[in-house]
């Protein structure tokens, strides 16, 4: 489990909230995309879902109306039989961007993203995943060597690395790695390696930049 404590995966609290259906859509997409490639986290989600099933058993039953079962069979009458969908699970050699939960928002793939340059070496694209709870889902492309100013997070921020790598005080994050940052966490990631680092980021609140530079840059990059 050493890998888990190395901050490359969602925290238990995040996975449990995902299992409870309590995440906003933006963060749920990032978590779900990570799950397509991480057996360990998928198993953990199953454990939290099991706890959800146990919690369901503690709910006080609310009686259905008298004719509910009759109504049910009337509705079920026209129901078509189950069909087996293709597996949603991405094979290991499958590009991360093609993972099902993300593909829904990224129809033309990562190479078809209409990037908007927000600062030298920094481009972003907002994905339409507002959903039913507030949250922002965005792609950020950071050129090698470019550093994002130090910032904190007013609430939880989750990031999945889709391509390339970045480095911050927690270490190196590369393709498939997940950063799960809370309000107490501040970081200043810098893209490393030869290729652009592309991150999928979900926030439920605007980032909180600490420095004057960050505060000046913020309105432009819209973070």
């Amino acid at each position: 489990m050493s890998d888990r404590s190395a901050h490359r995966h969602p925290r238990s609290e995040t996975l449990a909230l995902y299992a409870a259906g309590g995440l906003d859509e933006a963060r749920a997409v990032v978590v779900a995309t990570h799950l397509t490639i991480c057996d360990e986290c998928r198993l953990e989600v199953r454990d939290w879902e099991a706890l959800g099933g146990i919690a369901l058993e503690t709910v006080e039953p609310a009686p259905m109306s008298d004719n509910a079962l009759t109504d049910f069979w009337a509705r079920a009458e026209g129901a078509e039989p189950a069909t087996l969908p293709a597996s949603l699970r991405a094979a290991n050699d499958f590009p991360l961007e093609a993972a099902q939960p993300l593909r829904r928002y990224l129809k033309n793939g990562l190479d078809g993203v209409p990037w908007k340059t927000v600062a030298p070496g920094l481009a972003q694209h907002i994905l339409q995943a507002e959903g039913y709870r507030p949250g922002v889902l965005r792609l950020l492309k950071i050129a090698p060597g470019v550093k994002i100013p130090v910032h904190g997070h007013k609430d939880n921020e989750v990031t999945l690395i889709l391509r390339g790598a970045y480095h911050d005080h927690l270490g190196v994050f590369q393709e498939g790695d997940f950063a799960d940052l809370d309000e107490d966490d501040q970081h200043a990631p810098v893209a490393i390696g030869d290729e652009d680092c592309i991150c999928l980021i979900a926030t439920s609140a605007p980032l909180a930049f600490k420095s004057v530079v960050g505060k000046i840059v913020q309105p432009f990059i819209g973070l």
Binding site: M1, R4, S5, S12, E13, A16, L17, A19, A20, G21, G22, E25, A32, L35, R42, E44, R46, D47, E49, A50, L51, G52, G53, I54, A55, L56, E57, T58, V59, E60, P61, A62, P63, M64, S65, A68, L69, D71, F72, R75, A76, A79, E80, P81, A82, L84, P85, A86, S87, L88, R89, Q100, P101, R104, E130, G131, Y132, R133
Partner: protein, 209 residues
């Protein structure tokens, strides 16, 4: 039966007993799993009727609790049970118990209902409805044992952690709802959840001591 398993966990004596409801009596977990298996293999309507009698009111209770209005809760509970009937063949006992599977279906149906209200959209994909391959008997057994350990670890939590964890899975906006319901600061809710989840993970052998 269910309560008996929960009670296996050691409870310390100097803590006030939890006032939260315990699982209501009814068919036990294994029996519910067997009923669902009969629906899956034979389209057994009698077995389904018993599953319905057990789960439909609980799903409705969950939906009411999590914010649905009465009529909508009944409708979404029907939708949930309809999915259980139609997709029973996709139930994979190596991944989930019947209760867990139905919980995830109800959860997703509720999210889809909220999403439809927010904007027209496609239904979400449902990993719980997509078996990867034929489940292996030992994997099924492993899942059951793991569920039993989760249940025991949950039952053995100190009452103040037990309460926040229980509510976490059945409340809308869990963190703030729990804070409001139990009159606790948000930070306390989060730290209790963190402690409780860590404890359960440890019981499952997933964390180093």
């Amino acid at each position: 039966m269910i309560r008996a398993v929960v009670a296996v966990g050691p409870r310390t004596e100097n803590v006030t007993p939890s006032t939260t409801p315990v699982p209501a009596p009814g068919p036990a977990g294994d029996e519910l799993n067997a009923l669902l298996a009969r629906v899956a293999t034979h389209g057994d309507k009698e077995a389904f009727g018993r599953l319905y009698a057990h789960f439909a009111p609980r799903v409705k209770g969950y939906l009411l609790r999590i914010g649905a209005q009465s009529e909508q809760a009944e409708d979404l509970a029907q939708e949930t049970m309809l999915k259980v009937w139609r997709k029973a063949q996709l139930f994979d006992p190596s991944k989930a118990s019947a209760a867990t599977w139905i919980y995830t279906i109800a959860r997703n149906i509720r999210i889809d209902a909220l999403r439809r209200r927010a904007k027209d959209d496609l239904p979400a994909e449902e990993p719980m409805l997509t078996p990867e391959e034929e489940p292996q008997a030992d994997a099924v057994m492993e899942r059951r044992q793991r569920d039993a350990r989760i249940r025991a670890a949950f039952g053995a939590l100190p009452p103040n952690q037990y309460d926040v964890v229980r509510l976490h899975f059945i409340e809308d906006e869990p963190h703030s709802a729990i804070a409001e319901r139990l009159d606790l600061p948000l930070g306390t809710v989060k730290s209790r959840l963190r402690l409780a989840f860590g404890r359960i993970r440890k019981e499952l052998g997933e964390l180093d001591v």
